[in-house]
Amino acid sequence: MTTQTLSESGRSTPQLSLRTVLHNAGIGLALLALIVFFSVFTEHFLTPNNITNILTQITINLVLAVGMTFVILVGGIDLSVGSVMAFAAVVAGKAITLPGFGPAEAIALAVVAATMTGVLCGVFNGVISAYWALPSFIITLGMLNIARGAALQVSDAQTIYSFPLAFEEFGSAMIYGVPVVFLVALLLVFVAWFILNFTVFGRILYGIGNNEEAVRLAGHSVFRYKVAAFTICGFTAGIAAIVYMARLNISSPIAGIGFELNAIAAVIIGGTSLSGGRGSVIGTLLGAVIIGVLANGLILIGLSDFMRQMITGVVIVFAVILDHYRAKYAAK
């Protein structure tokens, strides 16, 4: 779970004390507290079935949040992921239901269609905001509207359905009780973690979030890296669309409303700074799990909808306060 601290040392070897663990565990402590709480106070929380449920339910948010991590690390934000996901799902839904393709081809076509749609939207976000140095908040808010309008236009506001069986099977497949779609998300997390920590590309992304001007003065093209970050985020929105389709067997043009806030929340609860340059995708994973565990556990505990919403807010606030003290103790 170490992420930022370097493994090869110039000098001293890291000690595996409580402090180092705390320091690197991110928001893990709050997560642990939640898990213990729900295990004690509900009957079904720690059952294999429920864990499978939780993993399935966090998958889409996790996939979106992985891409969002890249954008936030370079100091940007992407409000369009929910809409782009819907748009990608609609385009892929149109593709997969085209007549005259075998199931395998249709699925391949859909995957390509969804990711390409996501990538194109991401490139648009990145190019416009980076080239003119415009606030990505506004550009991606524009894209939020564009992609949603496009999704509705393309689908004529109709739910698209009846996908090949193989596709549905992928959506509900399990390996030892772990949903395959979650494994896909986990693979994305791993790849992102690897890219961010072990490639030059990743380190420069961090650098841009820290001090864009310094990276420019060091002779790098900030523009390209930023576009790349938004493109990755668009790509993961495309993947999320695939997961959505496989899981629900429909493409709905109104899917994903508000998903951007959840994805951003996962990233920030995971300790990534909204101003860029600091954070990790492992934190994002933990953040997404926290949100998922909370949503699941509060229903199991039998809270009414309204109380649940309130308590969700309170727990999120407490989690970050708790994390503040964890980080402080770890830094001592």
Binding site: R247, P253, L300
Partner: protein, 283 residues
């Protein structure tokens, strides 16, 4: 040309039910050809303001009739009163304006539309008949605070009372497939003994059906509402027990017809002009 102009105010057209309704209205306009149609939707279902804005904009444009599916049965009364005072014919369809609110302002306005509560009860009754007394059911509600969501929940609760069903839980999934899928999965974990599900629209019913499939349960009955095309196969193969059709495609068109009659000097509408609803089951 001096064809009468009809302003149609819809709810969110992103909802395929209303989109189809609007397509129906446009087809109707083309067919009749003797009036002009201006149609406006809302950005989202809770965006009451945009409907009020639409009424104001229509008054500005001087339309002859406003045909409106109110997003909130109370907020719309005053602006519609303003329209009526400006001499515009107003027809209320889909969701009825609140009686009290109308009385308070001295508004006399008929309602053209289906009975959401009655419709929901049709679906609930279908479930109740299958399960019998003591059947364990849950409700997946629409957006809390939305009038049609409230009506449908009340309709389901009527069935629960009539058939003495055991209501285990009742939660919102905000009309949304993915949320219904997650929320219902969690409800199923908490209450593995659920026998029936009443979903307040078909989008949520689809999410419920998928959750049952992933959980490997084929012993739980699901009813929905709206009869969108995507649930057709599910009803056919028994994954869903029933849904309710309000014939939305014709609803706006019918309301427009009624409005045009009044514009052309016909008598004012009165009371509740009920439009048909029908329970849809496998054959």
């Amino acid at each position: 040309d001096d064809k009468p102009v009809v302003g149609l105010i819809m709810k969110s057209l992103a909802n395929e039910f209303f989109q189809n309704m609007m397509v129906g209205a446009q087809a109707h306009q083309e067919k009749r050809g003797d009036y002009e149609l201006l149609a406006v939707g809302m950005q989202n279902e809770t965006d009451f303001e945009s409907q009020i804005n639409a009424v104001e904009n229509f008054i500005t444009q001087g339309v002859d009739a406003i045909v409106v599916a109110p997003a909130d049965s109370r907020a719309m009364v005053r602006p519609l009163k303003k329209a009526m005072d400006a001499g515009i014919v107003v027809v209320n369809f889909d969701v009825a304006l609140d009686e009290d609110a109308k009385k308070q302002r001295g508004v006399e306005l008929a309602f053209v539309g289906p009975d959401n509560r009655g419709g929901a009860k049709l679906a609930g009754d279908a479930l109740g008949e299958k399960l019998g007394e003591g059947g364990k059911v849950v409700i997946i509600e629409g957006n809390p605070g939305a009038d049609n969501a409230t009506q449908r929940r009340l309709g389901f609760e009527d069935s629960v009372a009539e058939f003495k069903l055991d209501l285990l839980d009742s939660r919102t999934a905000h009309w949304e497939t993915e949320e219904a899928n997650s929320v219902f999965s969690n409800m199923l974990t908490a209450h593995p003994d659920i026998q029936g599900v009443m979903a307040a629209n078909d989008s949520m019913a689809i999410g419920v059906v998928k959750a049952l499939e992933s959980a490997g349960r084929d012993d739980i009955l699901v009813v929905g509402f709206d009869n969108i095309p995507a649930v057709g196969p599910m009803i056919e193969d028994g994954r869903m027990l029933a849904t309710v059709d309000q014939f939305g495609t014709d609803m706006a068109a019918n309301a427009i017809d009624l409005a045009l009659e009044v514009v052309q000097g016909g008598p004012e509408l009165e009371g509740w002009v009920k439009t048909p609803i029908e329970l849809v089951t496998a054959n």
